[in-house]
């Protein structure tokens, strides 16, 4: 349920070398663990190193290996059916990451486009889009999400629809503000004087200058999408069996809190770490592209 409170970002010439290099280093060190995680959840299942999937009713609710009673046969322990939690954790992580990425894309795509149009053309286009943004933000979004899902049932397409609906408005608002700042820049007037068409100015000049902001926005949106997905899945309204995400693992862990707290512990920890890294990365990218913030 993350609200992005971003300032309108002005397009800036690339930063001076030194600051640029420092920002790039921090972006690198944040992106690295994310990349490693992403590769790990996709590659690990192919290596055959993970414990077998199936149930084992002789070994239910086993604690993780590092706790008393645990064994390395099941490094993260087992659930109430004796299924290995590490195997589940890895495959659930895969879905979580995919949902985060796709969920961010479906939100920033329409959001950026609408924000761009509103910010550039102003007038009635702006008025209509702004009212839509306000209306979207006026609806208690978790309830809207719940209502849509209750209507349409839980499935991945519905989940993406919800993520798009709940995310586009914030993206549109930020893009609109940033576009308004850029369109006042003199090079836009210069291009108009050279006979450039409006679509050319918007898509060939303003959009590239917004790229940094959009990438940062998209990164932060990945975090939001993962959090929204986890909340919905936790309530049994997002990812539902037989599919598994970290959020749905939390749902199954909820009933076992008093007997096997670790079932819910690790997926939640993973979500927190992943979203924290993504948010740090988004902040770093945003600072990198916002000259006013870089000054500080």
């Amino acid at each position: 349920m993350s609200q992005l409170e971003l300032d309108p970002v002005t397009a800036a010439p690339p930063p001076p070398r030194r600051a640029g290099r420092r920002a790039r280093t921090s972006v690198f060190w944040l992106a690295l663990p994310l990349a490693v995680t992403a590769v790990a959840v996709f590659v690990l299942p192919l290596t055959g190193l993970l414990p077998e999937r199936g149930q084992d009713l002789a070994a239910t609710r086993q604690p993780p290996a590092f706790l008393a009673g645990g064994s390395w046969a099941h490094p993260l322990g087992t659930d109430k059916l004796g299924q290995d939690l590490l195997t589940q954790f890895v495959s659930a992580g895969r879905l979580t990451i995919v949902i985060g990425l796709v969920g961010a894309l479906v939100a920033i795509g329409p959001g950026t486009l609408l924000g761009l149009l509103a910010g550039y053309f102003r007038g009635w286009v702006d008025r209509v889009i702004s009212i839509l943004i306000d209306a979207q933000l006026a609806l208690p979004f978790i309830l809207v999400a719940l209502a849509i899902i209750a209507n349409r049932g839980s499935s991945l397409p519905v989940l993406f629809l919800v993520l798009a609906l709940t995310g586009w408005a914030v993206c549109a608002r930020v893009t609109r503000a940033a576009t308004m700042a850029i369109r006042e820049r003199q090079f836009v007037i210069g291009l108009r004087a050279a006979g450039a068409s409006e679509p050319r100015i918007v898509f060939r000049h303003i959009l590239p200058n917004l790229a940094g902001t959009i990438v940062a926005l998209g990164t932060l949106q990945v975090g939001t999408a993962i959090l929204v997905e986890s909340a919905l899945s936790f309530l049994g309204l997002g990812v539902v069996p037989p599919m598994n995400s970290w959020g749905s693992m939390l749902a199954s862990g909820q009933d076992e809190l008093s007997q096997a707290w670790w079932i819910a512990f690790f997926p939640g920890l993973a979500i927190t770490a992943l979203v924290l890294l993504v948010n740090l990365l988004g902040d770093a990218l945003l600072t990198h592209h916002d000259p006013r913030k870089r000054r500080r």
């Binding site: 690339p14 820049r185 003199q186 090079f187 210069g190 108009r192 004087a193 050279a194 006979g195 590239p208």
Partner: protein, 281 residues
């Protein structure tokens, strides 16, 4: 002060394709009114109040006044690049209120603008070369008269700057690139909005000399927006003094600066850095 354009440097005339001489004024503005509405309070502010202005082909006209007097708004409205306002504006004989969108776009390259902040006038994501390439793609016929390297030569820049990005250029270099971009279009009117006030003092004189040379070689008319009287005096034939959106005095530079009729003009002359210049006369 400065002579009529046709008596410019003969050597350059031969090489530079000159704008065909014409009797139609480049720009005619009659009773222009531009109002801004404050989005927050809804208050209406009259930035340009019943201004009339005329620039003949090849003429050099200045608009002076303190900041906030409406100079830039006037220039943007008069060239159809900013909020239009009411009143009649004729660009090369075409009335802006009657012209179609397509015609206006075709007319636009005839007017080129050089701004105060040279870095803001260049797309930060475009190298000098790709910026020029885009201009050439937009106006293939207009721009075919000169190559990139020669063009930069005209504004006394080395050709190896072509692959630089705006942030890799100094203020003076960036402003020369802006002038080169304007030059490429072979405009009949160049609007220069405080072209030197964003630059280091040492570079200002160079850029002014460049503008002066361009005037004489290309025969383009110049609309100079400035608060620096010395700059205006050295470059322009006619000056309009603006105060709070109105033109309070207009006339040939020598007359207005030598024997100002309006109190505000006198005040301006006394207060502005160009004042020392009056005593020199």
């Amino acid at each position: 002060m400065s002579e009529v354009v046709e008596t410019g440097v003969p050597g350059d005339l031969a090489r530079h394709p000159r704008t065909p001489a014409s009797d139609t004024p480049v720009l005619e503005v009659d009773d222009l009114v531009v109002e801004h509405r404050d989005g927050g309070t809804g208050a209406v502010f009259r930035a340009v109040d019943q201004v009339s202005l005329r620039i003949a082909a090849g003429e050099s006209v200045a608009v002076v006044g303190e900041s906030g007097s409406g100079k830039t708004t006037l220039a943007m409205a008069a060239t159809g690049l900013g909020p239009r306002g009411q009143g009649d504006v004729r660009l090369l004989g075409h009335s802006l209120s009657a012209i179609s969108r397509t015609r206006l776009r075709r007319l636009r390259p005839e007017v080129q603008v050089v701004f105060q902040d040279p870095h803001g006038s260049l797309d930060p994501r475009q190298s000098v070369r790709s910026g020029l390439r885009e201009l050439r793609a937009l106006q293939p016929e207009r721009t075919s008269w000169i190559g990139d390297a020669d063009l930069l030569g005209r504004v006394r820049l080395a050709a190896d700057l072509l692959d630089r990005y705006p942030h890799q250029l100094s203020g003076g270099q960036a402003q020369r690139v802006c002038i080169a971009r304007a030059l490429l279009m072979r405009p009949r009117l160049i609007v220069a909005d405080e072209p030197t006030s964003g630059l280091d003092v040492s570079v200002q004189a160079d850029v002014l000399a460049l503008l002066r040379q361009i005037r004489t070689t290309t025969g383009a008319a110049l609309l100079m927006i400035s608060h620096d009287l010395a700059v205006v005096r050295s470059l322009c034939d006619v000056v309009h003094v603006m105060y709070r959106g109105r033109v309070v005095e207009a006339g040939p530079c020598d007359r207005v600066f030598g024997a100002p009729e309006n109190d505000y003009t006198r005040e301006l002359l006394a207060a502005m850095p160009g004042a020392r210049w009056r005593s020199r006369r």
